[in-house]
Symmetry: D2
Subunit: 375 residues, 4 copies
């Protein structure tokens, strides 16, 4: 990552640029690029992606929108206290954090903002174009890592996530939606997206419970074991916990979780999913799943899983992966939804298998296509 | 399953024919064939196998060797008490249980048996040939479901499992080894197996903890997450628990479990596997796994799984699957190890991927090959 | 238990007499009295209660109210299928089940019932008095084991559980409330209860998650460990699961669960409790608890518990315990709430410690008092 | 804690003074005394102990024996990296760490040491007497927190832990054994201990799995539930994990764990306990317990617990508790084993109840006795 970017540098414009995921991505990208940390969790740093022409980590330049004003170096220190970032890391990458911080613009709309939707989109698109111009970037990818929105009501206007997605299109930028928010999935944006000639990818990154479900559900199916009920509880604090304590946001999140099971089994089995805000857990998440299934001759069996992870540390390397993959796709003129990136999402744009193994194969095949088309 | 078998009937000769797995397989085959129970857990009853020319469940005829004299109907009632078989099932399939019981011959060698290895092999092979002739079978498949043996010492003679495997070859029967015992994996048997023109398959069925590992380990690998330690404890009673309380037998079992991790990751991570004999649990098994892994920037995370299942109910449908698949392969003249059946095993004959998803794809491809070659 | 009761026989009048708990209590009492089953789970059959003058199990005579018409022997067979009762038990105690069934009267009020509250109470009290007279009982104890009611709204009339509690007072019977429903806890019943001279006990039996909490919470307190969040999820099917899927009923249930933590710690820690209706689990319940706590110097630690139990089998022996203890108390003229029985309840009438160890000591002391006052 | 101790200061002489537990105790004592950290996990800082005349935390002076030469400030920094101590703590209490470090003497016997047992004991006793004299202490308590020794063989000489215990007696110091090592439990030391007029306490602190067992086992007993099997696995890295990978040391540790169950139930239920060395876990320990129990009418139920804690953080405050309590007892002339401290131990000197609730009551009563006898 370089603060004086070269003409071939690639921009990563983060919606929610001062959040935990974004801060971890910016700090982590710098640390890995500098050789301070291994690239654990970054799929694009593994051998199958070596010759795919992805932008180098050191060539990524960060900016974004956020409604918060807390400087990135300070956010990074907060993440050290929370156990997300290692001690000493913020100081080691202070230059890169400050550089990204200087490229963050105010998001919106905030309460009282009287601008029309069109004005907001224009304003956001201008921010992104300025970033590209000022940094002399080849292109920028817009990535949504903001807090989950409530499911929009009927007839309401565009939710904020869709305003930003429209701004990405208007600024000519590929778009990635790592959250369950609406983003490009709004009827009003279908035609512009199709006409844009840009690649885009989403929706709702899978980092924990759903990641597990995407390997366990196929296992039950392939072994012809009859899943009778699949129940789950998530405990998490931090911003995500608070956002998801909103029933509307939780509903958006759960829709993605259940989609995996419904896709694999044909219909969703019995069972609920709870998301609890437990501030004491901070950025750490615990997910418990209980799967009741039948074996031969009706024998009743149970699998339980407990996943204890740090959401920001799970999401951040995938953000870097996605930004690199989508930037490269745009470079090669690939347009439209990228179902080959279903590996990363609960509810993949463009559909495809919900089984992680098949998604991984599709991703590696895509890496090959990027290599060949770029040759 | 028919007690008056037709010329096209297929024999299933079970080593350990009075054990829990064998009894469950015989009773369950009859129940499913009669429509009394669904085919839960039988992969070969799912759509991809519909036209592969597998022998019908109703055409399977059972017999086998065992050193125990307890009649199958009585064993079945014991399994009802143990919660493995549903109430009423033994009575409903009494005819089939009695028919199979009449085809069980004494196994060996028992203490004091003075026969030479050659004599034992001849005797076992004669038993199998008599079964085929008497029942007018097209062929019989020999399946080892006996208790796990200790790892054989250097320079010792053939262990019992290898005597039975040699008898299968001598009787011209395909062979399946569902246990971690040596079976065909003895240097002395390598040449005869290669010369036999018969298909064979093994070793060590994966039904619980290792099944899980075969989907979870690839998940960590594909997501570039660094597994630091993988520890496990198995609690089980019943015959298997007692057999595996023998350190030698446990070592044989654990070798297979660790092989999956070593295959996926390149080398086995830290961590031990314990197998405890807990008679109070009877035929039910609980397996706890604890996986410590690193995410981005060295964040430390943990996945735990608890699997509570009935080993006999997990294994029995796979036994039926394997007997059908190997019988069909033999019918089509396919010979040698069948790596396409790695889906079923901890330590697959012929090698291949250790990832369940890829193993499933290979199995379905094999089903297609059986269909096409038989057309 | 005897169908031709002697003058010293004791009645147990169950509200919800055809439910799973009641059926298990009636069948189990007969089985234990006949020596067919051990008295596992019955605290009053342990040595400290040997000389307390409790009515013998064989002297208990059962009857009750229920709105269901399903005969007890049929309910018992359903519980066999559900894995709650052992095979063969209903047949072995058919006489006792039929005798109890003959003493069950229709409950109420059902929809469309136009009787006033007074008329309903009178009718219920008449049913109980008839039972006592017809069976020639020394006394009867009324025990509420009906499905949990929703929390009553402001200004509403008496909920059904309170109508039955009023009937118990009117019929001169001690009363036990094993559910979180209102029962005697209604302002209108405070004065009659105090004036009745009868003992009573409740509320909301603790059989699983709360039982665990009543030993774990004191452990954290005594060790000066700082509990930061205590979260829980309950999965259960059967009637209880369906009843508690009603948010009002769940709220009633959860109030009791949280009371234990609030009592021990002074205030309730962070964390929610979920109760999910999972019909696939039938009468079996799984409760997962996640406790985040701080140790020395702020180190963050976690305890998780998973309890897999059969609610009816956990509750039924406690019902028998309570009926015997309260009957004996009434015999000795002990009146009012019995805080000494807090061992059995989430929200004990009369208060007292919420720590199980102290509650057990109080219970054993009470056994001594029953012995001494009866001497 | 004061580096210029007053005549009333109390010494704490730690065997294993450079280990994780000792380092955490020294650093934590300073931090709590200075008000930098709350006294979480210190039972003696709770109200029942307020007036018992215990030495103030600020009056404790530390020294000890160790065979390692790594300075305490460096050990403290290692514990920061391991996540045991908070960042910044070692710097904040550097003076106290350095002062304690200056009072650490070489332990033994190291390989090649030719001194006799008597010479070793004399040497150790001299070290302790010098410490008391040099620091002008009222008294010193010797506390064993060294790595667990293997169970001593028949006829062997005194193990190292017993040499130190003998040195404590010779130096006139009360003795606490927080480990399962032999310490004072050697036949040769029985008479000197009895004649010493000193109080002593042990053995084998309970900080995790056994702490849980001491509340769960009484729960099952009090509820008359029949425990059929209790199995457990401990995963831990750090020095303790490595020490306990030695089968002899593990046997010593497990004896204590099983003693709790045997004491509560009259005999130990089925089930094994494993202790695995998992270096990846560092100082953090995970303990999984699986308890199979029967309820009413033979219904089979299961409780599982998973405890994830930091052993040093769990043990260190108890070390401070014990040193204060035993020092105060000595001050009041109380001699011999202190069964009142069974709350802290797996295998309490002097016996007493194994139920934590009763042990807590005995401890609080002891606090009252210290208050009254000192008045």
């Amino acid at each position: 990552m370089s603060t004086t970017s070269t003409p071939t540098a690639t921009g990563v414009w983060l919606i929610g640029a001062r959040g935990s995921v974004a801060t971890t991505a910016v700090a982590g990208c710098a640390a890995v690029a500098a050789g301070l940390q291994p690239a654990t969790g970054m799929v694009t740093e593994t051998p199958p992606f070596a010759d795919s022409g992805l932008p180098a980590l050191g060539s990524l330049v960060f900016g974004g929108h956020d409604t918060s004003g807390c400087p990135l170096p300070k956010r990074a220190e907060q993440l050290v206290s929370a156990g997300v970032l290692p001690h000493g890391l913020p100081a080691a990458v202070l230059g890169e954090l400050a550089a990204a911080d200087a490229e963050i613009r105010g998001g919106g709309p905030l309460p009282g903002d009287t601008r029309s939707e069109e004005e907001l989109i224009d304003s956001f698109a201008d921010d992104i174009r300025d970033f590209v111009r000022r940094q002399g970037l080849g292109r920028a990818v817009v990535v949504n890592v903001a807090s989950t929105e409530a499911l929009p009501g009927e007839g309401a206007g565009l939710p904020a996530s869709s305003l930003y997605a429209a701004a990405a299109l208007r600024a000519g930028c590929p778009y990635v939606n790592f959250t369950p928010s609406t983003g490009l999935h709004h009827p009003v944006l279908a035609a512009p997206a199709a006409a844009s000639g840009l690649p885009y990818s989403g929706r709702d990154g899978k980092t924990g419970q759903t990641l597990l479900r995407s390997v366990l559900a196929p296992m039950f199916l392939q072994r012809a074991l009859a899943v009778r009920a699949w129940s789950g509880t998530n405990l998490l604090g931090g911003g995500d916990g608070a956002a998801l304590a909103d029933p509307g946001a939780a509903a958006a999140k759960n829709a993605g979780k259940e989609r995996v099971l419904a896709d694999v089994f044909g219909s969703a089995p019995e069972g609920e999913v709870h998301i609890d805000d437990v501030p004491a857990l901070g950025d750490w998440k615990t997910a418990w799943d209980h799967i009741a299934f039948d074996g031969f001759l009706g024998s009743r069996m149970v699998l339980q899983t407990t996943w204890q992870g740090c959401d920001s540390a799970l999401a951040a390397p995938l953000i870097l992966d996605l930004a690199r993959l989508v930037a490269r796709a745009a470079e090669l003129g690939i347009a439209g939804p990228l179902p080959e990136l279903g590996f990363y999402f609960k509810d993949p744009d463009g559909g495809g298998s919900a089984a992680l193994g098949e998604q991984y194969k599709a991703l590696v095949d895509f890496a090959g296509r990027l290599r060949e088309e770029g040759a």
